[in-house]
């Protein structure tokens, strides 16, 4: 069902944990399946993400995308991090089963939520970042069959 990369990130997730006094913390939940992801970012003065940690209550895909997302944002600038989408996370994982695509949105939203928190705390505005919803309200998936 899952690719090798997904299984690797699921069984050995990178960057699990919390960051005390993080620059930004974002928690998002998935209306579809009740899963929750929290992401901690440590961002230096130049706007580079120095450290990142996550905690996830969710399926294998949610755990793996969380892990991969933290790997992708680490070392990036805020602007670069903003460009990470659920698609790029999925690609980095060699794909997800169709029914699990929505799980990867959790990771994208968690990054955004953490960045929003960082922006609020620092009273700055990040170009292109919108206030994240507390829940990811997806449209009903149209299943073809």
């Amino acid at each position: 069902m899952y690719t090798e990369k997904v299984m690797d990130h699921f069984s050995n997730p990178r960057n699990v944990g919390e960051i005390e006094n993080a620059s930004g913390v974002g928690t998002v939940g998935n209306a579809k399946c009740g899963d929750i992801m929290r992401m901690y970012l440590d961002i230096d003065e130049t706007g580079v993400i120095q450290d990142v940690k996550f905690k996830t209550f969710g399926c294998g895909a949610a755990v793996a995308t969380s892990s991969m997302a933290t790997e992708l944002v680490k070392g990036k600038t805020v602007e670069e991090a903003l460009k990470i989408t659920n698609k790029s996370v999925m690609e980095a994982l060699d794909g997800l089963p169709p029914v699990k695509v929505h799980c990867s949105l959790l990771a994208e939203e968690a990054i955004h939520a953490a960045l929003w928190d960082y922006a609020e705390k620092n009273n700055i505005k990040i170009e292109g970042l919108e206030k994240p919803k507390s829940d990811i309200h997806e449209e009903e998936e149209t299943i073809e069959y």
């Binding site: 069984s11 399946c33 009740g34 929750i36 929290r38 905690k55 996830t56 209550f57 399926c59 949610a62």
Partner: protein
Amino acid sequence: MEKKIYLDNAATTRTRPEVVDAMLPYFTEKFGNPSSVYEFASQNKKAVDEARGTIAKALGADITEVYFTGGGTEADNWAIKATAEAYKAKGNHIITTKIEHHAVLHTCEYLEKNGYEVTYLDVDEYGIVKLDQLEKAIKPTTILITIMFANNEIGTIQPIKEIGEIAKRNKILFHTDAVQAFAQVDINVNDMGIDMLSASAHKLNGPKGIGFLYIKKGVKIRSLIHGGAQERQRRAGTENVPGVVGFGKAVEIAMATMEDRAKKEIELRDYLIKRVLAEVPYTRLNGDRVKRLPNNANFSFQFIEGESLLIMLDMNHICASSGSACTSGSLDPSHVLLAIGLPHEIAHGSLRLTLSEDNTVEEIDYTVEKIKEIVDKLRKMSPLYED
């Protein structure tokens, strides 16, 4: 331990080698069509009727009351849809529960779209139907009560005899989905007032793709599948002779060993339950402590999610389930666990372990150790868990 530990016998079971042996001659040697007139094929008719007799006996039914189907799902569909159709002059109301298998629930939903009214009864926190609510739900238009014998997720056994009495007293047909209960616990259709009963061979060490519907004499439902005159003109299609023979053999063995098997399974199950509840904090047992299938244990581990748990168990060669296998395509938490009152996030963290008589104490010990490790690991990863 590299060997696989199979703890998902409610999803499906291993076909017994004796069952396969019984089936084998009907593939390559006695392969005739039972409807044919020649001797070579009429022996197959006899074999089919022998299996039918074995099953009838296991139910306390007459041999003419057992009709083979392509599985438990078809039997459920048949009982419900054909009753709706045959008795629509009498009424359009069906009573069922919130914890039925999807084979019953989705069939009822289908009927709702076609002008029928369905009442989905609540259950109590152990998953047991409330008889007074059942009585209250009955209307002059009620034509069918369909309540499962034992639940596939939490193993709870319903008060079938009492339900049968209520149905009888109100002159309403009573169907029970006994896919999980047949040949696992005592059933007598007459004593229990059952008018229709569904079962499936692959849940009791028989082959997949074969089931039956028991239809009491006098119940005037007709066919779901139309065509040839097989099964006393009620279920068309060339008989699955090897499947039927295998089903018969599986029932014969399951009935002969039922008592010992149950005893062994209950002992192992209770050991498992005791250890898990004692050794894993923030854990609950779902379902009734006593009125439950001998082989079923169902736990909720707070703060963690079921699929992750299953995958990690799988990496340790332990086969288990979270909710029912055929809903694993779905992301919703189990409708059964929600119906017994669990909140969403706890329902999500559930684990079903269903034993067979072949499981050993060593396997259970290993499994408990792994559960402890994995639950701990997942909790450490969970944003909901603060220790």
